[in-house]
């Protein structure tokens, strides 16, 4: 038993903290938010050269080895730095989806590009009318003369504007009708229209319209079956890494708030000496401790290959509301100060809110947890 981090994890954490505090200051994050691309190619290459993008991908596929727990340790730091990058979507979400459900051949073909950062993948899942109700998905893929013809509109596609490939989830028409498939779609295919959405979180999201887009038949990488279970399972690593980014952001929000409470003087003393302010800080710290340990636990179970559907859903479900509470309390302590765009705290607040619905909103997660808890009553 060990409910802490290993020495290697501490080292990874420290080196990420050191590097990002130098290379990814809040000023850069602010500038990137205003930029067209939304992230720094230079930093992206540096992350690749450090092996960060290959974490969780076995060496035989060009990765750096390691597991989800390693990715989680790193994600706490990228979240702490509010680092804008396609890491979560390309590496943690798509990379791990590929690793868990495609053929050996496809892994060998696709993963090295992800691990080196040279190829950017993005998951095209949610649609204008689905939210996280995946049963309502309308995008269709029909097999015609050796090609799947994909038609439908996907929303909230992360970094779709720079993606090389989409992993598009669509209903398979034809002989396996009613099943969901995971399709590899070249982003440069004719019939694709990409529009950036204006989203609050500094995490670029796009609408991607697929109009009769052709993908070779072998690009149906995985048959996800008729219910959402296999898809949800494939999304688990992404969910946990998202929770870890939220934990990192919440850690930063707490630190910024504590620092402010210690130095802001009102009525002749630091506001942090007032109990009303102290209690907000202790609530933040309490929520943060909880978020962190449940995220670590879910990541550990996932890394060990243990059953963890409930644990992963609970980690994200808890982070969703706990991190929002942390953001709110931080703002209460800062009062008007963090209402300003120039303040660092609001950067984290926007991210926490956006993260809440990324890779599983609370309603969706509640369904998963309820099913795991067998809240369906006795038969009869």
């Amino acid at each position: 038993m060990n409910l802490g981090l290993s020495e290697e994890h501490e080292m990874l954490k420290k080196s990420a903290r050191d590097l990002l505090s130098q290379k990814c200051p809040a000023s850069l994050v602010g500038r990137l938010e205003e930029s067209e691309q939304g992230y720094s190619s230079e930093l992206w290459s540096e992350m690749a050269s450090l092996g960060w993008l290959g974490l969780g991908i076995p060496e035989k596929y060009g990765g750096s080895g390691g597991n989800i727990l390693d990715m989680v340790v790193l994600a706490e730091e990228t979240g702490y730095a509010a680092l804008p990058s396609p890491n979560l979507s390309s590496v943690a979400t798509c990379g791990q989806m590929l690793l868990s459900c495609v053929s050996e051949q496809d892994k060998a073909r696709l993963l090295p590009g992800i691990a080196s950062g040279k190829t950017i993948f993005s998951l095209a899942l949610i649609e204008p009318d689905t939210g996280w109700d995946l049963s309502a998905m309308a995008t269709k893929a029909s097999l015609q003369g050796g090609y799947y013809i994909i038609t439908g509109t996907k929303m909230f596609v992360p970094y779709g504007h720079v993606a090389d490939f989409f992993l598009c989830i669509a209903q398979v028409k034809g002989k396996s009708a009613g099943r969901l498939g995971l399709f590899l779609v070249d982003a440069k295919s004719p019939g694709i229209k990409i529009t950036q959405l204006k989203a609050m979180g500094g995490y670029r999201l796009c609408e991607v319209i697929f109009s009769r887009v052709k993908a070779p038949a072998q690009n149906l990488l995985c048959d996800l079956g008729r219910d959402k279970t296999p898809l949800v399972k494939a999304l688990q690593p992404g969910m946990v890494v998202q929770s870890a980014e939220m934990v990192g952001g919440a850690q930063k929000s707490l630190e910024v708030t504590l620092e402010y409470a210690k130095q802001r003087i009102q009525f002749g003393r630091p506001i942090g000496a007032f109990q009303a302010v102290q209690y907000k800080c202790t609530d933040m710290a309490k929520d943060l401790e909880g978020c962190r340990i449940i995220t670590w636990a879910a990541a550990w179970k996932l890394s060990e290959g243990l059953p963890c559907a409930k644990d992963v859903a609970m980690a994200k479900f808890y982070a969703n509301t706990a991190c929002r509470r942390i953001a709110w309390e931080g703002h209460q302590v800062h009062a008007a100060a963090a209402f300003l765009k120039e303040h660092v705290l609001q950067m984290y607040t926007r991210r926490a809110m956006a993260a809440e619905s990324n890779l599983g909103d609370s309603e969706f997660l509640e369904d998963l947890i309820a099913a795991e808890m067998k809240l369906t009553g006795k038969a009869g």
């Binding site: 981090l5 102290q278 209690y279 800080c281 202790t282 369906t376």
Partner: protein, 392 residues
């Protein structure tokens, strides 16, 4: 990170669980405060002790099992989960008074007292709170005056868990009236069977009587029972309270988990309008939230046990656990009462009471959650010691 228990630990957990299931009579409730239950619990504690389980995480030279704190936590969790009779009476001795003595008691005290606790022969408590002194403990007024080889103690302590079932208690008394209020306090072990000690039960709104008052009227305590140096009791007292907080996780991972599991099962079985209660989206939502929060707390509990087993003082984590546990308990009973609706008001023993009135009982008991340190005091401590905020 590694949440695995060793094969040995898993086997130990199973052994404890099946022993309790076998030995515990169905008609003895964990909160029965009657004499029959008490007699049973005395025997039961000795049986646990004979197996070397009661203080399995203590060093062998003091009568313990010499195993790790992880084993002690496994034992505690199982005992609480199975509602083994009266574990709360022995809790203080095993989890914080005993460990406190191990930290700052004399060798003679350790050898004299600790094996008796480990064998289940005596029960010990702590006597800190007074009628006029709760959160502001350092203002305590109970006096102890030196008289040769004795201290003569006068004063009154209150809200003492199961004092009438205890044999000894750690009294915090003022030994120097002139000193700064933190500097004149001493801790001493008092034999509760001594002349001059009167214990009076208090009745609480949860229908039980487990809190007592203790009156000290010229009680003579031998000097050899002084714990730590004279006038230097404040820090030791704080350490005992820290141990107490660190083990609150046992109740979370054991007792609270059991209450919740039973309630979820009730919601699966009970039918309203032809459907299982748990299928109602309003009920389901609450159950999912409670389950998630309880999972977080159980993990925090184990994080605190593990840190303690590594000799790391779990400061922020223990505070987070303690605060979270109190909040959870309150939210749990409130939500459970909402779910039970009109049935929730029925008391244990009433016709038609769901879960034999367990939720009603827990609901009333939740008003006593602040009895051992209010959440506000916990937050004050956590703000200053854990987060480095300036003192208020």
């Amino acid at each position: 990170m590694d949440l695995n228990f060793t094969e040995e630990q898993k086997a130990f957990r199973k052994e404890v669980a099946s022993f309790i299931e076998r030995e515990l009579p169905k008609d003895i409730s964990d909160e029965d405060d009657g004499d029959e239950a008490w007699q049973f619990s005395l025997t039961f504690a000795k049986k646990l002790a004979e197996r070397g389980w009661l203080c399995i995480g203590w060093p062998t030279e003091y009568g313990g099992g010499g195993r790790s704190l992880i084993d002690q936590a496994i034992f505690g969790e199982e005992v609480y989960y199975h509602r083994a009779a009266f574990h709360s009476v022995v809790h203080a001795g095993i989890y914080f008074v005993g460990p406190g003595l191990m930290h700052f008691g004399t060798e003679e005290q350790k050898r004299r007292i600790l094996p008796l606790i480990a064998k289940g022969e005596i029960r010990v408590g702590q006597a800190f709170s007074e009628p006029e002194v709760g959160s502001d403990l350092s203002s305590l007024k109970t006096r102890a005056v030196r008289d040769g080889d004795y201290y003569v103690v006068n004063g009154q302590k209150t809200y003492q868990s199961w004092a009438r079932r205890n044999d000894m208690t750690v009294v915090a008394a003022r030994t120097d009236l002139e000193a700064n209020k933190y500097r004149g306090i001493s801790l001493m072990l008092c034999d509760l069977h001594s002349p001059g000690v009167t214990v009076r039960p208090l009745n609480t709104i949860d229908g039980l009587s487990h809190l007592d008052e203790i009156f000290f009227d010229n009680v003579r305590i031998p000097r050899q029972n002084l714990i730590g140096a004279e006038n230097d009791g404040w820090n030791n007292l704080a350490t005992i309270l820290t141990f107490e907080r660190s083990t609150s996780g046992l109740r979370v991972a054991g007792a609270r988990r059991r209450d919740f599991d039973d309630f979820v099962q009730f919601c699966r079985d009970a039918r309203r309008g032809g459907k299982a209660l748990c299928e109602n989206p309003f009920v389901r939502h609450k159950l999912v939230e409670m389950a998630t929060e309880l999972e977080v707390l159980s993990l925090l509990a184990w994080r605190v046990f593990w840190l303690s087993s590594q000799k790391i003082v779990p400061s922020t984590q223990a505070s987070a656990l303690n605060l979270g546990a109190k909040e959870w308990q309150r939210r749990f009973v409130e939500r459970a009462m909402e779910i039970l609706g009109v049935y929730g008001q029925l008391e244990p023993g009433s016709k038609g009471a769901p879960m034999n009135g367990r939720i009603e009982h827990l609901f009333m008991r939740s008003f006593g959650l602040s009895a051992a340190a209010t959440p506000e005091i916990m937050k004050n401590l956590m703000a200053v010691r854990g987060l480095g905020l300036p003192r208020g």
